[in-house]
């Protein structure tokens, strides 16, 4: 590594001023499980690490009075699956936090960091999208909010300006009768990067689907929000016929590449199969049934 410096601001305003001063050379450091390795391997030119973990807004996980949740950008995975209220409300996100990396990675790695790393296969991004999460961003020109599906712009690229940081994510309260699920396919049993990942969230009124969101990962330059797949489910009876329609839409939306983890054909197939399974799991959870977290 070249000369590196480190700052531990305690307010968002201080962090913004450091980012504004140092431009692209400064980067927020949350769990470091991507960033430290990328800098060590010279994949990034970061020279100023700005520690996110001394800023209260970035380290708090709270369920708000209106039932929504605010997830600080540096909150690590283990804290998310260790929180009963979050486990109950946002099971797709919890699924992802339990399967990302290893126990040691989950001890540090944050959902906000996963989003800012903006990998096409980032496991927490499809869950954030199906939960309808909003990114709260601060920068030299003030604050702004953005739907998570609009955050990533390409592999390792996102909307953040050099003077901006992700402060937190707001997850709306799920309606009564909601359930969600995320799962992925990996060539190994564990500790791997998704060949394809799929998340789904549904709301049921009896057996009728009244709201649904579907998102798939690792099949395009960014995680995809497949709005049409969710829309096709609205008003349908929860069941295989409906899931198949949505899964076909997800497969058509996927535009994957061939690489070491899989082929285009296999990824298209997986987009269909995993969307079906994510919907089955989401509906089962909406009905109060237990669904494993995809180990």
């Amino acid at each position: 590594m070249h000369a590196i410096s480190y700052a531990a601001p305690t307010t968002v305003a201080d962090a913004v001023s450091i980012l504004a001063e140092h431009g692209a050379n400064a980067r927020m450091l949350a769990g470091g499980t991507d960033l430290i390795v990328q800098v060590r391997e010279k994949l990034r030119d970061t020279t100023v690490f700005v520690d996110a973990k001394h800023i209260p807004d970035l380290t708090q996980l709270t369920v708000n009075a209106d039932g929504s949740a605010t997830l600080g950008a540096a909150v690590p995975c283990h804290q998310i699956y260790g929180d009963d209220a979050i486990v109950a409300q946002y099971p797709a996100l919890v699924d992802a936090c339990r399967i990302i990396g290893s126990t040691g990675i989950q001890g540090r790695a944050s959902v906000g960091g996963n989003l800012c790393n903006s990998g096409p296969a980032g496991d927490t991004i499809p869950p954030l999208i199906v939960h309808g999460a909003v990114a709260n961003i601060a920068g030299a020109n003030g604050e702004r909010t953005l739907a998570v599906e609009d955050f990533c712009t390409g592999p390792s690229r996102n909307v953040l300006g050099d003077d901006e940081l992700l402060v937190s994510l707001t997850l709306p309260k799920p309606a009564d009768g909601s359930g969600s699920h995320y799962l992925r396919f990996i060539p190994r049993n564990e500790m791997d990067i998704a060949e394809v990942g799929a998340g789904a969230a549904v709301t049921l009124d009896g057996d009728t689907i009244t709201a649904a969101r579907v998102s798939i990962g690792a099949v395009a330059p960014t995680p995809l929000f497949v709005a049409a797949a969710g829309e096709a489910l609205i008003g349908q009876t929860a069941g295989e016929a409906a899931y198949e329609v949505a899964a076909n839409i997800a497969r058509d939306a996927a535009s994957p590449i061939n690489d070491m983890r899989g082929t285009i054909a296999h990824r298209k197939h997986l987009s269909f199969v995993l969307t079906q399974r994510a919907l089955r799991g989401a509906v089962a959870r909406a009905r109060g049934m237990e669904v494993g977290h995809g180990h």
Partner: protein, 165 residues
């Protein structure tokens, strides 16, 4: 007051294996580098240096972490347990005893990481199933044993710590 940007040698105070410890570290240095090269605690190993193998695992503020993916300067004020802090004054930790008894190691490079990871698990879950042990330890790679003896040793140590067997 603007936040100070630290560079060069930074003074860090932390608690390592129960003892207040001061060291100087450059911001680029990992906790693993400081443990091994500055503090002489060479139990944590550098395997992959990118968070895959678990040979450098330590417990920081109650959480299992890969010390290669922690900056040493981040450890300021933290409570760190390394493999050197696992054994008690009266002898080896039950996990260490059971690793020996079950021959759960061959070359031994991965062993400190496995022991620290297993301790972190048993601190949280004293009665894990085999499945839970295997998933918890999925981030520790061993190229010698095939894992089976390690898993048996951990389960046996857990039973012994619960006063069974």
């Amino acid at each position: 007051m603007a936040t100070e940007i630290l560079s060069g040698k930074v003074h860090v105070n932390t608690t390592i294996n129960g003892e207040s410890t001061d060291f100087l570290a450059e911001p680029r240095e990992s906790l693993l580098e400081v443990l091994r090269e500055t503090l002489g605690l060479t139990g944590a190993k550098e395997g992959c240096n990118d968070g895959n193998c678990g040979a450098c695992n330590v417990i920081m503020d109650g959480r299992l972490v890969n010390s290669c993916c922690v900056l040493a300067v981040e450890a300021g004020g933290a409570d760190v347990t390394t493999i050197e802090g696992i054994a008690g004054p009266s002898g080896l930790h039950p996990l260490q005893e059971k690793f020996l008894e079950h021959a759960a190691l061959q070359c031994g490079v991965c062993t400190p990481g496995f022991l620290v990871s297993a301790k972190a698990m048993l601190d949280e879950n004293p009665d894990p199933t085999e499945d839970e042990v295997r998933w918890w330890l999925a981030g520790n790679l061993c190229r010698c044993t095939g894992y089976d003896k390690i898993v048996r040793a951990v389960l046996d140590a857990a039973a012994s710590m619960r006063g069974e067997g």
